[in-house]
């Protein structure tokens, strides 16, 4: 069972990394996530049932997610729509886009070749772990390589101190659009992977995913402080796996899975409050070893 949690953790970590680009680098929560995630699923699954090879289907999903991010970015920077609202608008609009793509509320992948069938030789769950590792290694390398280019540094600076970035000639609006495009591309990739693993795509598959993504991000952060970017991306994977193990624990305790979402929210809420709780109780370093006080 634990191996299935690890497998799930790896796939969902992709979502966490996508969210990191907006939530932590640009410092705003991007609600487009709840639309681009199921959009990625919808595009990939529709492509696969139309006999598109799974890898190409995944690329189509990424492109679709990037398009969604672009719309949010343009609404936010050019249209001056507050970013939360811009995300909500796109998320809501994507519901219709997904129905248009799939022509019905859900499609399943029964008897279809998915990415996971490319590694049929591996025992159950191990194929997912294997693919998860490959995807994460590629994704983290690409994101890191991007961070350490001049463009990537300008992107980070925009989130870190926008006034300064602008005063150094960095086109901060373009950087925000770029961030939203990349982030939602990665999130759609997560959607495409999870959908192939689950065997279906559903227009409502996005509800609550931002909570799952943020949970993996925040769990990684409360456990490890003061890390370099590369290490930070790895802690998102650890956080994601831990989150899945936590959920598994809850299910093992006999909790009705129908009500699982409130647990996701509670876990995230607790994690978000940990710095505050720690401060008021002065517990210091029980959870966050090496943290500066």
């Amino acid at each position: 069972m634990i191996i299935s949690a690890i497998a799930q953790g790896f796939l969902w970590a992709v979502l966490g990394i996508g969210l990191y680009l907006t939530y932590r680098i640009l410092k705003f929560p991007d609600l487009t996530t709840e639309g681009s995630f199921p959009l990625g699923a919808a595009v990939a699954v529709t492509a696969i049932v139309s006999d598109v090879p799974p890898i190409l289907a995944i690329f189509l999903a990424i492109l679709a997610g990037m398009g969604a991010g672009l719309v949010t970015g343009l609404l936010y920077t050019k249209g001056k729509v507050p970013v939360i609202l811009a995300g909500i608008l796109v998320m809501s609009g994507l519901h219709s886009v997904m129905l248009f793509i799939m022509k019905r509320p859900n499609i399943n992948l029964l008897n279809q070749e998915t990415l996971f069938d490319l590694f049929e030789g591996l025992p159950n769950y191990y194929d997912v772990v294997f693919i998860g590792v490959i995807v994460l290694v590629i994704l983290i390398s690409v994101v890191l390589a991007f961070f350490y280019t001049n463009l990537g540094q300008a992107f980070i600076a925009t989130g870190d101190n926008e006034d300064m970035a602008r005063s150094l000639g960095i086109r901060t609006d373009n950087m925000k659009i770029l961030g939203l495009v990349i982030s939602n591309g990665v999130i759609a990739l997560a959607g495409a992977l999870v959908a192939q693993n689950n065997g279906y795509a559903d227009v409502n598959g996005g509800t609550g995913v931002i909570v799952i993504g943020l949970a993996s991000l925040i769990i990684g952060e409360v456990m490890f402080k003061d890390l370099k970017l590369g290490e930070r991306l790895c802690t998102i994977v650890i956080g994601s796996v831990l989150y899945q193990i936590l959920l598994l624990g809850v299910i093992e305790l006999g909790f009705d899975t129908t009500y699982i979402r409130i647990f996701s929210s509670v876990i995230l809420a607790i994690c978000l409050m940990i710095p505050q709780i720690r401060k008021s109780l002065n517990l210091g370093t029980i959870i966050g070893r090496g943290e500066k006080e």
Binding site: T149, Q153, A157, A165, R166, L168, T172
Partner: protein, 260 residues
């Protein structure tokens, strides 16, 4: 001397809730020549910072034009102007990116105005030069070269901002009370460093200050602002004749309230 910056009829009007027009800048005309180092004095609300903001493009003006190096930059975006103009703010937090290291901050400044591409940032290649620059300041900044800028002391952070602002030698340097948030000793050191860099690089500079002494000691021209207008403009000779006493008296007569 040739005119570097020419500001004509610069006006900014803000309408408050009672529908009253408030002239933050009231038809300012001003020419700055190549190589001038102007100190700017004036009470709170005199329009000094707004003048700077209109020059850098970080605030919209109601009317008037700004010419820089024979370009009409009135309609240029702030990002575009930043090729030619750099600025150090009063708040040490404003000029640096806190989560990026000192070296990373310097690298961003080195690429001021350049198109950002997917080329590797090549931090290592520049590091030696950066360490050398930091060492020349003499406040231990070089030891923090790989530390996040947010961990620096206020003085270190301001000297980093100053390095970043002067690194590519922009046409115009604007200092907005950049020593005001520091303790007297650090403030004095930073002011001396500022003067050295300006002299060495022969930069054209405008400096807002609340320290009357600094306004007299440094620079080769002095202007005083009040109610959105330039009320006094002293050239080098007139400025040299001016004593602290004269200046204080002048401020009293004008009922200006300088905060020393």
């Amino acid at each position: 001397m040739s005119a570097l910056l020419q500001v004509t009829g610069l006006t900014k009007i803000i309408t408050n809730q009672a529908d009253e027009d408030n002239h933050i800048l009231d038809g300012v005309n001003f020419t700055l020549n190549q190589g001038e180092f102007v100190t700017v004095l004036g009470g709170n609300g005199a329009g000094k910072s707004t003048l700077f903001n209109s020059i850098t493009g970080s605030t919209e003006i109601t009317s008037g034009t700004v010419m820089l190096k024979d370009n009409d930059i009135t309609k240029w975006k702030e990002e575009k102007r930043s090729n030619l103009i750099s600025r150090v703010f009063q708040d040490p937090k404003m000029g640096t990116a806190p989560r990026m290291t000192v070296a990373e901050n310097l690298l961003l400044a080195k690429l001021r105005g350049e198109k950002k591409t997917l080329r590797s940032r090549n931090l290592k290649k520049n590091k030696e030069q950066f360490i050398e620059m930091c060492t020349s300041i003499g406040n231990g900044l070089e030891k923090q070269i790989d530390a996040p800028a947010g961990n620096l002391s206020g003085g270190q952070r301001q000297s980093l901002s100053l390095l970043m602002a002067t690194m590519t030698q922009p046409s115009l340097l604007l200092l907005d009370e950049h020593t005001a948030a520091l303790d007297p000793k650090t403030s004095k050191k930073l002011m001396q460093l500022t003067n050295e860099i300006i002299q060495e690089k022969k930069m054209t500079c405008m400096m807002i200050t609340h320290q009357m002494e600094d306004a007299l000691v440094y620079g080769n021209r002095l202007i005083v602002m009040k109610d959105g207008k330039i009320t006094l403009d002293l050239n080098q000779k007139e400025k040299e004749k001016m004593t602290l006493k004269d200046l204080l008296k002048l401020f009293e007569e004008e009922k200006l309230t300088p905060t020393i």
